[in-house]
C-alpha cells in the first residue's frame, strides 16, 4: 500500500511542477469589471453587484448547496442514537457572558447582512456571525431548553419558506416583462442603506436562512456528539 501511495505522490508532484511552470508563462490583463456596475445595480460594493446582481444565478445554487447540506446532515444524523448525558456549563458568569455575546453577534450579523451592498459583508458572512453566538449559547443550555427554544420543525419550516420566497422574488420580474433575476425595484441613490433594489432584501433573506441553517447543523451535532 505504501508503494502505491508513493507512486501517487510522485505523479502528483510531477503535476504540480508542470502546473507551476505553465503558470509562470500566463500573462495577465485585468478586464474592466467595475465600470457601469453601480449604474446597473445601484450597489457601491461592486463585489455585491456581481454576487447578487450579474451572477445571482450562481448564488441561488449556492444557497441550495447550503440547504441541501443542512437537510442531509439532519436526515443522516437523525437515526443516530442521541447522547444520553449532555453536560452544559452552568456557571453563572459563563451564562451571562454567552447571552451577552449572543445578542451582540446577532446584531452584528444582521448589520453585516443588511449593509452588504454598501460595505464589505453580505448574507453568508452575516448569517455565520450570528450563528457563532448561538453556538456559544448552546454550550450552556440543557438539551431540553435548546430543543424548546430552537425547535427543529419550526426552523425547517422557516428555512423552506425563506428559500421559496427568494426563488419567487427572482421569478417575479417575468410577470412584468423583464428577465428573471433582474433588479426590478427602484435602485435609489448609490451609497445609501435603502438602495440597490432587491440586493439588500435578498442579502437579508440569505442572512436569516444561513443563520437558521448553521444553528440547525450545530444543534444536531451537539445533540448527537455533545459539546466536548
Amino acid at each position: 500500500m505504501k508503494n502505491i501511495r508513493l507512486i501517487s505522490v510522485i505523479l502528483f508532484g510531477m503535476f504540480i511542477v508542470m502546473l507551476l511552470i505553465s503558470a509562470e508563462t500566463i500573462s495577465y490583463i485585468q478586464p474592466d469589471n467595475v465600470t457601469g456596475a453601480v449604474k446597473d445595480t445601484g450597489a457601491i460594493n461592486v463585489i455585491a453587484a456581481y454576487y447578487l446582481g450579474y451572477r445571482l444565478f450562481d448564488t441561488l445554487f449556492e444557497i441550495l448547496v447550503f440547504t441541501v447540506a443542512v437537510q442531509g446532515v439532519v436526515h443522516l444524523l437523525g437515526h443516530m442514537p442521541t447522547l444520553e448525558q449532555h453536560k452544559p456549563m452552568r456557571e453563572k458568569a459563563i451564562i451571562i457572558y454567552t447571552d451577552l455575546i449572543f445578542g451582540a453577534s446577532l446584531i452584528t450579523g444582521m448589520y453585516i447582512a443588511v449593509a452588504g451592498h454598501i460595505s464589505a459583508g453580505g448574507g453568508f458572512v452575516g448569517g455565520i456571525v450570528g450563528a457563532t453566538g448561538a453556538v456559544l449559547v448552546f454550550l450552556t443550555m440543557p438539551m431540553e431548553d435548546i430543543e424548546k427554544e430552537f425547535n427543529h420543525t419550526y426552523m425547517a419550516i422557516w428555512e423552506m419558506c425563506i428559500l421559496a420566497t427568494i426563488f419567487a422574488l427572482v421569478l417575479l420580474p417575468i410577470f412584468i416583462g423583464m428577465y428573471p433575476m433582474k433588479n426590478f425595484l427602484p435602485l435609489g441613490t448609490p451609497g445609501h442603506i435603502v438602495s440597490g433594489g432587491i440586493i439588500p432584501i435578498v442579502d437579508t433573506l440569505i442572512g436569516i436562512k444561513v443563520l437558521i441553517g448553521a444553528v440547525t447543523i450545530a444543534q444536531t451535532f451537539i445533540k448527537h456528539r455533545g459539546v466536548f
Binding site: 500500500m1 501511495r5 501517487s8 505522490v9 502528483f12 508532484g13 504540480i16 502546473l19 507551476l20 503558470a23 509562470e24 495577465y28 485585468q30 478586464p31 469589471n33 467595475v34 456596475a37 453601480v38 457601491i44 460594493n45 461592486v46 463585489i47 455585491a48 453587484a49 456581481y50 454576487y51 451572477r55 450562481d58 448564488t59 445554487f61 449556492e62 448547496v65 447550503f66 441541501v68 447540506a69 442531509g72 446532515v73 443522516l76 444524523l77 443516530m80 454598501i118 460595505s119 464589505a120 453580505g122 453568508f124 448609490p190 451609497g191 447543523i217 448527537h224 456528539r225
Partner: protein, 112 residues
C-alpha cells in the same frame, strides 16, 4: 506572481495529504487545505494588478471584483461538502469503530 506560487504550494500540500494519510479525518482536513489553496489563488488573481477592494467610496484603481465574488460560492460548497463528509465519518466510526481507510477497505474485501 509569488502569490500564485504560494497558492499552488498550499494546493500541493493538501493534495499530498489526501494521498498519503491513512486516517479519514486527516484526509478530509487535507481536502480543506486544498480548497483553501484555491481560495488563495482566486484572491491573488483578483489582486494581481491593484489591491484596493472595489467598494466605490474609496479611490481607485480597484482590484478585480469578479474572482472575489465567485470564490464565496466555492467556500460555501467547501463548507457543505465538509459537513457532509464529517457526518459520514461520524457514522462510519460509530458503526465500525475505526477511521483507518486501509482497515475499512480490508473489511470490504473480506465480504466478497
Amino acid at each position: 506572481m509569488i502569490y500564485i506560487a504560494i497558492a499552488v504550494v498550499i494546493f500541493a500540500i493538501g493534495g499530498i495529504g489526501i494521498i498519503w494519510k491513512d486516517n479519514i479525518l486527516l484526509k478530509l482536513l487535507s481536502l480543506g487545505i486544498m480548497n483553501a489553496g484555491v481560495v488563495v489563488l482566486f484572491v491573488s488573481i483578483a489582486g494581481l494588478k491593484h489591491r484596493i477592494p472595489a467598494i466605490l467610496n474609496t479611490n481607485g484603481p480597484y482590484a478585480d471584483p469578479l474572482p472575489q465574488a465567485v470564490i464565496i460560492t466555492s467556500i460555501v460548497i467547501g463548507f457543505a461538502t465538509m459537513s457532509l463528509a464529517l457526518v459520514f465519518t461520524m457514522l462510519i466510526s460509530l458503526k465500525k469503530g475505526t477511521l483507518s481507510s486501509k482497515k475499512l477497505q480490508e473489511d470490504i474485501d473480506r465480504e466478497h
